[in-house]
């Protein structure tokens, strides 16, 4: 039997022949980073390797870190192991890690989605002998509607609030979701309703996106909104801002939340938000199963999320599947942590 190209070590996912970790949760010598969300890109490692599209954001998240970058698809050889990064479609710079060694190919997905996103390269299907997949939304209740339809709903909600003279406060993760929504609202030609604004915690990330060449519409700093513009504005805010004194300036605002967890009524109620918009940067159930089939992998290892349900389903359908007990957060936790440059 071939050697394991990825296994679980105390510090995280580890490639023994290549002597590197993937998204380690403890400091290591060499960390390959799939994307810059806080639970995947932790500080303290000696060297980091990430996709060049991720570099700008990663430098915001890991100030001072030694970061090497690779373009998507370009191979790097390390101890006879051929490592390359491929688009995962999750957020800007998100990568799948492809590892080839002595004819064996393993792919670690990182977080990924199959839906369109104007702020990052689309997911690239790869063939692999073994596939390590995320399973954040690994239950059949998670079937995403077309993202453009959800964004149309957001635009309609914004329009109705503006007509009623109420600020639209849209909570979403500061890195990825906020920029995706901004870009999609621009594409839906919805920005004539009023100014698009963002919480200060998002400014550095918006700048990093622009510096990476992503086309974002003008986004006003929320505290710089003119008083007359406040009731017509849509304000993108991180979940951690909810209930903070920062929000008082917006008076009687309408609140919304954009996240895959908004798919269920229980998810909407748990957040205590008026409107939920099920827009996710993670793969849904049909996308997860299709992706696993696309890889042709005979072995599937399932990380954080609904791993037990996915593993059981895969086994019942003839796959060699197992769970990997990673320490990645469920969607929603990473952005609750303070971000570099947060205000």
């Amino acid at each position: 039997m071939a050697v394991n190209l990825i296994e679980l070590s105390p510090a995280g996912l580890y490639c023994p022949p290549g002597r590197f970790h993937i998204d380690p949760w403890r400091p290591v010598a060499c960390a390959v980073i799939t994307h810059a969300h806080a639970d995947h890109a932790r500080a303290g490692s000696e060297r980091y390797l990430a996709c060049d599209d991720a570099a700008q954001v990663l430098r915001v998240r890991l100030p001072g870190a030694a970061i090497d970058t690779l373009p998507y698809g370009a191979p790097m050889l390390r101890d006879g192991v051929r490592v390359s990064l491929h688009p995962a479609g999750h957020v800007l710079g998100a990568a799948q890690v492809r590892i080839e060694y002595r004819g064996e190919v393993w792919v670690a997905s990182g977080d990924y989605k199959r839906d369109a996103d104007p702020t990052c390269a689309p997911f690239e299907p790869l063939r692999a002998h073994a596939f390590v997949t995320e399973s954040t939304f690994g239950l059949p209740i998670f079937r995403w509607r077309a993202p453009a339809e959800v964004v149309d709903d957001i635009a309609g909600w914004w329009r109705a609030n503006a007509a009623a003279g109420r600020t639209s406060m849209l909570f979403c993760y500061a890195f990825g979701k906020a920029q995706r929504i901004a870009a999609m609202l621009a594409r839906a030609r919805a920005l004539n309703v009023g100014p698009l604004a963002a919480h200060g915690a998002m400014s550095a990330l918006n700048d990093a996106y622009r510096a990476s060449g992503v086309d974002l519409p003008p986004i006003v700093h929320a505290t710089a909104l003119a008083a007359a513009d406040v009731p017509r504005a849509l304000v993108l805010a991180p979940p951690s801002a909810a209930g903070s004194p920062w929000m008082r300036r917006f008076g009687d605002f309408a609140s919304g939340f954009a996240s895959g967890w908004m798919q269920t009524r229980a998810g909407r109620r748990r957040r205590g938000i008026e409107r939920g918009f099920a827009l996710s940067d993670h793969v849904d159930w049909p996308g997860l199963l299709a992706t696993i089939a696309d890889t042709g992998a005979s072995r599937v290892l399932v990380t954080h999320g609904e791993s037990s349900a996915v593993v059981r389903w895969l086994r019942e359908h003839g796959h060699d599947a197992a769970a990997l007990a990673t320490e990645f957060a469920a969607e929603g936790e990473p952005e609750a942590m303070p971000t570099a440059g947060a205000a």
Binding site: P140, I141, R265, A266, R270, R271, G272, E274, E306
Partner: protein
Amino acid sequence: MEAFARLHRTLEAERDDARIAAIGAYVRDAPPDDAALAVSLLKGQRPRRILPAAVMRDAAMRAAGIARWLFDACKTQVGDVAETVALVVPSASRTTLHGLAWWSERIASLATVDAGAAATRLVEDWDSLSTDARIVYAKLVSGTYRSPVSPALVDRALAPNFSVPVDPRPPFADASLRVDAVLVYAEPAAPKGFALGAFTFALWDERGGARTLTPIARIDDVAEHERSALEAIVRRTTVERFGPVRRVTPTLVCELAFEAVEASGRRKSGWRLRAPRVVRVRDDASVDDAATLADLGKYAR
């Protein structure tokens, strides 16, 4: 059906001015038979159960190609069979323009066919409905549809220039029971949420001679609008904390709806409410106006 499903979703989420506008718009734009049925449902008429939830669940499992354990895992996450059914079935391949009244008759006719034919019909019907419409459909089939608003709010929405043209239809039983109760405790929701989870309400207890407030129900089924009013009161009036539980000064009266009241020896109040929920904050009522345990006893069977 899609229009009523959108209305239902709006009523679950929005505040009163938006709710009133949405009811008004639906009633104005819908055909008269749809409007009449919608009004009776929103005013608390409860639909009769047409099929057991298990028949619907099994049909949904077949349509989704999933086993019982996976349906149950989904149900645990969702918390409601009708919504789980609506979510697991693959997206519709067709659309229909039929309204609430047409669907209601079609649903009623499910009772006249055998179980196999009913299951086939369910899957066929789901294939032409959005997720939100499927939730309403499934709740009408299982008899679990409950109005997200109070009858008084519906009256306010209809007040300007509208009268219901048709009487409530035969498949509906009595409205749920109502009582005015006082908020006494609140506790947070799941660790990650920032909303309060459950609220405990009390009624006046005059059994011991003195007049004290005795808890009668702990409720987590609170619509967002009422939830924000409750949270605001909790923030202002918390007097004590025991771990996650906050005791508040009794100041807020809410109208609770419930399906039945049963004697319960395990509870201090002596009563247990079935399916209690908050329908409205009674800004117009003082704590003294809340009901007594004796009032509640009159509802017992």
